[in-house]
């Protein structure tokens, strides 16, 4: 079962550290409290050749936690394609990096902060943004955009509203203060996330290709320096905490494991780090993120094949009396570990001082391959670095689908397909659902225009940032519909990949690479491991089909409260390149009289749809299948239409189906909504045509005299296409007629429902508790 990746070494010259006064004895109970199984502890003993001290146990606990060690995911993650000619840096570094042309490289990554956000939403979310920014600028790239992918329970719960408003404020305040525009993301509300919100933050950074720097402790004799904020007692064992399920009691008890963010220090650290990298005085830099100094120092040593020696007495701390154990495992924010060229330490200090930050020498790079920790010169931990960072046992678990899911999928939805006649009220109900409604309430709290590069702001299919001085732009999106993954892990994951790619092509970007955030429950449960395995396999297939390799990401397991897991949510963060910034297309209908053309085919499917959730509170049925070849052809057809300037708008058709996609294109940003007149005579149940969520569809509009050209491009790519209607005047009527039913409503009324939904829930006067 256990895979041995490294042969344990024993070294007769080991310095056997003695237990510190006051350290508890290492007992089986203490080992269990540290999240290590008896088998894993046996591996620790083999690696060490002796019993570890309390301090060493803490180090193993963090490094071999799920969060740092990927013990239940690593084997499956190997299935994901990670290479392509344009990939400069694949998984294993702080962030992935791709070549985007023009001498520029794009660093990008997504990361979760689910557990902290469940306990303390504002700080949990804020520090999630802080962490992902550091992952980007430690590659030598300047952060140019963030996106956030969020999931919450239904908003009728006061606690969910508290989590939602706290997370949005936390994401916003941190990015706003550092000055990085938020260009998009997604949010979904479903009772499946009631106890465990999902908070994933993605960041994009830009650099000249030659400015890439990695996180490795190279150059024996070089100096290790701690820079940035001081180390405090916050976030101790955050990595281990993130590797456990939550319970009702997690709220109070876990708060000390949540870090506190300081975006002002982050901004200074960002500028100082980029200046350090540009100055050439350092050879490596890494964020002290999960598992703090322990992981940053040992991983940097491991990557370079070297050792490190650090003295805890030299680490600047916030309060006296911190033990080596606490300093090693603290997750205080806004700290970096840098490797300075020997003799250039004062240059490092000078740069940090300009930015009013501290830099302290805490150790050096050694040639003995050991992760050695001292306390005022006395050895308190001495562990071989490679087994510590690479030797975490990895597992392949038993996986099988739960009966509950099998049953949910088998539920017959045909009764839900019956409504006919005037379905306008239903249409308005869909548009007012928080999942479909305008997300303005969220992104009006995010600075979206700072850095003067945002070409497409949140609210569209994908965010777009131009690269100043070139014709290039980069686009990014995050996608995943957890309901579909819950009902059918493979189809749901393919759908997430397909939707992400459609979102990118709809703005005019070629999908180029992805980062993933795999949010799941407890992998030791067979039905969860099954979801994970199916999702990773599907993602690998879609990455190959779309030529979008994975350059990094994050696995977040144990998203469970009181034994109940979230929907499996493998969030896809996809980036794309726009060759000519002038060709960027939006989702909004632009001109009265333009033809509306539907690419793709409607189907008789309601499985996993928002319609079934809104009308019946059900997450049920067989989700629509995804044809990867057809999706790829559709992507290429849309890009071809945009590049020839044939179309004036393009919009992915997904949540809420065709009717909601039409409404969104008519509403645009909400500032100047237009009418639209549509007629579709498919021999299908009307609600399936209006609200079914068949994959592989994109809604485009074009001048009337270019319809023939659009249809011809579609035919060339083998994509079904037909004209379904015409764009109406500003303030006109949104009218959709299908066989047996219709909806008809003035767009201004639609707008009020769509824009007013979230404020109506979140800003409604609350009953005071006099």
């Amino acid at each position: 079962m256990v895979e041995g990746s490294t042969t344990p070494r024993t070294n007769v010259n080991d310095t056997h550290p003695h237990p510190r006064v006051g350290d508890p004895p290492v007992t089986p109970e203490l080992v269990a409290d540290h999240g290590l199984s008896p088998e894993e502890y046996a591996r620790v003993l083999a690696v060490m050749g002796r019993e570890p001290t309390f301090t060493e146990l803490g180090v193993f606990s963090a490094m071999w936690s799920e969060h740092c060690g990927y013990k239940n995911s690593k084997r499956l993650l190997r299935l994901l394609p990670t290479e392509a000619p344009w990939v400069i840096q694949g998984p294993g570094e702080n962030a992935g990096v791709i070549d985007i042309g023009g001498g520029y490289a794009l660093a990008f990554k997504i990361e979760s902060h689910n557990h902290p956000s469940a306990v303390e939403p504002y700080q949990g979310a804020a520090t999630g943004v802080g962490g992902i920014l550091r992952d980007i600028f430690t590659m030598g790239a300047r952060p140019i955009a963030v996106l956030d992918s969020l999931r919450f329970g239904d908003l009728d719960s006061p606690r969910v509203r508290y989590l939602f408003s706290g997370v949005v404020a936390g994401v916003g305040d941190y990015g706003n203060c550092v000055g990085i525009p938020n260009i998009g993301g997604e949010v979904a509300f479903d009772h499946g996330y009631e106890g465990n919100p999902i908070v994933n933050a993605m960041c994009l950074g830009l650099m000249k290709k030659e400015d890439l720097i990695t996180a490795s402790a190279s150059g024996v004799g070089n100096t290790l320096m701690a820079v940035g904020a001081r180390t405090g007692r916050d976030g101790i064992h955050g990595a281990t905490f993130a590797s456990e399920e939550l319970s009702q009691d997690s709220d109070e008890a876990s708060r000390p494991q949540v870090q506190v963010g300081d975006p002002f220090t982050e901004k200074l650290l960002l500028e100082a780090s980029l200046e350090l990298i540009a100055s050439g005085v350092i050879t490596g830099i890494q964020d002290m993120g999960a598992a703090g100094i322990t992981s940053s120092a040992s991983e940097m040593a491991g990557r370079a094949g070297n050792g490190v020696e650090i003295d805890m007495a030299l680490v600047p701390v916030r309060e006296p009396g911190m033990t080596p154990y606490e300093i090693l495992l603290s997750e205080s924010q806004e700290r970096m570990l840098v490797v300075a060229e020997k003799g250039r330490e004062d240059d490092v200090r000078r740069i940090l001082e300009k930015w009013e930050l501290e830099a302290a020498v805490i150790g050096r790079v050694t040639d003995d391959g050991r992760f050695r920790v001292l306390e005022s010169g006395t050895v308190v931990a001495d562990i071989p670095a490679l087994p510590l960072t690479q030797g975490c046992p990895t597992y392949e678990r038993e996986g099988r689908e739960s009966d509950e899911v099998t049953a949910s999928r088998a539920i017959d939805l045909s009764a839900h397909a019956e409504p006919t006649g005037d379905l306008t009220d239903l249409f308005l109900k869909m548009l007012g659902s928080p999942n479909i409604a305008s997300k303005r309430w969220i992104y009006h709290q995010y600075d979206t225009t700072v850095r003067t590069a945002t070409v497409a702001r949140p609210g569209g299919d994908a965010g777009v940032v131009r690269i100043r001085g070139t014709r290039l732009a980069v686009a990014a999106t995050t996608d995943c519909n957890g309901r579909l993954v819950y009902l059918h892990p493979r189809r749901g994951t393919l759908a997430a990949m397909a939707e992400a790619a459609r979102n990118l092509v709809c703005v005019g970007a070629l999908p180029t690479a992805i980062t993933n955030n795999l949010n799941f429950g407890n992998p030791l449960k067979p039905h969860i491991y099954y979801q994970f395995r199916e999702a990773v396999r599907a993602m690998a297939d879609a990455c190959r089909a779309f030529e979008t390799p994975v350059t990094g990401g994050n696995v977040s397991f144990y998203n469970e409260t009181d034994g109940r897991a979230i929907y499996p949510t493998p969030v896809v963060g996809m980036v794309g390149v726009v060759e000519d910034v002038d060709q960027i297309t939006g989702l909004a209908f632009r001109n009265e009289g333009d033809a509306v053309v539907l690419l793709g085919r409607n189907t008789d499917e309601l499985g996993g749809s928002e319609y079934v959730y809104v009308t019946a509170g059900l997450v049920a049925g067989e989700p629509p299948d995804v044809d990867l070849i057809a999706e790829r052809s559709l992507q290429q057809a849309v890009l071809a239409m945009i590049r020839t300037g044939a179309i004036t708008s393009a919009h992915d058709c997904s949540d809420g189906g065709l009717a909601c996609a039409l409404a969104e294109s008519a509403l645009g940003s909400g500032d100047a909504p237009v009418g639209v007149d549509i007629e579709i005579d498919d021999d299908l149940p009307p609600v399936a045509v209006l609200f079914g969520e068949a994959q592989g569809r994109v809604l485009v509009s074009c001048p009337g005299d270019r319809v023939g050209e659009v249809l011809a491009v579609a035919e060339d790519h083998g994509v079904p296409a037909r004209r379904i209607g015409t764009v109406g005047p500003q303030g006109g009527e949104v009218r959709v007629r299908v066989r047996g039913a219709s909806v008809s409503v003035p767009v201004d009324r639609l707008r009020d429902v769509w824009i007013g939904a979230l404020p109506g829930i979140m800003d409604a006067p609350q009953v005071s508790e006099a």
Binding site: A169, D173, N176, P263, F264, T265, K354, H444, R466
Partner: protein
């Protein structure tokens, strides 16, 4: 036009101002807040951002930075000073502009495009606009709610020192068009001498149609022209 863009720890719109100045043909230089001496510059600009993290109160710590003594002297000597967003807050804290910017009425950060009506086209910063023109420019702030006592407000209005006001599409200064609760929908004001302008919206972000609007260009071209004419007429 030689422009000093003052950078405080936590400024984050310094780069955007720098680029805006360059775009209209000006020469921009970053001046770190600990540097001294602004004699070589024609204009001083205080950028947006979160100087000192907005700790204590927005702009309250930045105004104590060494360079601010020079900024105050530059302004008192009649030199043009533009403060955007956090820069506006710092100018109020430094006493170069009256009133104060407090938390938005919504108690939330507000980020979006707003409409501004140009109320005075005779300031150094607005000659390229017509009075009554409606501009579309983004805001992005948590503390942009302009407050002043009644006397100050009366003087500002009476002396035409309210330069920009939040309005709706028809040009009306309605409560709905006011994004932050500012008194009289005030978005930007000048000092008595007319040489110091503070505003919450970001003209430096509205320099290109590609990014949504180029309505902010006029602030920078107006400054260029005002400086050129004052030099030729020898009034400086």
């Amino acid at each position: 036009m030689k422009v000093a863009v003052i950078t405080f720890p936590g400024s984050n719109c310094d780069y955007d101002l720098y680029k805006a100045v360059q775009q209209v043909g000006g020469e921009a230089t970053f001046v770190w807040h600990r540097e001294r001496g602004l004699a070589d510059f024609d204009v001083v600009m205080l950028p947006g951002g979160f100087s000192y993290g907005d700790y204590l109160r927005a702009g309250a710590i930045a105004r104590l930075s060494p360079v601010m003594e020079d900024v105050v002297a530059f302004a008192r000597g009649g030199g043009p000073v533009l403060g955007v967003c956090n820069g506006f807050q710092i100018l109020c804290e430094a006493g170069l502009l009256p009133g104060a910017l407090v938390k938005n009425a919504s108690l939330r950060f507000e980020s979006r495009d707003v409409r501004l009506r140009v109320e005075n086209s005779e300031t150094l910063f607005t000659t390229d606009y017509d009075v009554g023109r409606i501009l579309r420019i983004p805001i992005a702030h948590g503390d942009g709610n302009y407050e002043a006592d009644d006397d100050t407000l009366e003087r500002l209005e009476g002396e035409g020192r309210v330069v920009f006001r939040y309005v709706d599409a028809t040009g009306a200064a309605t409560p709905e068009a006011n994004p932050n609760g500012s008194l009289n929908n005030i978005a930007g004001i000048v000092n008595e001498g007319g040489n110091v302008l503070g505003l919450m919206p970001h003209p430096e972000r509205s320099m290109e149609a590609l990014l949504g609007s180029d309505d902010g260009v006029g602030v920078f071209t107006s400054l260029m022209k005002s400086l050129a004419s004052s030099t030729t007429s020898g009034t400086q």
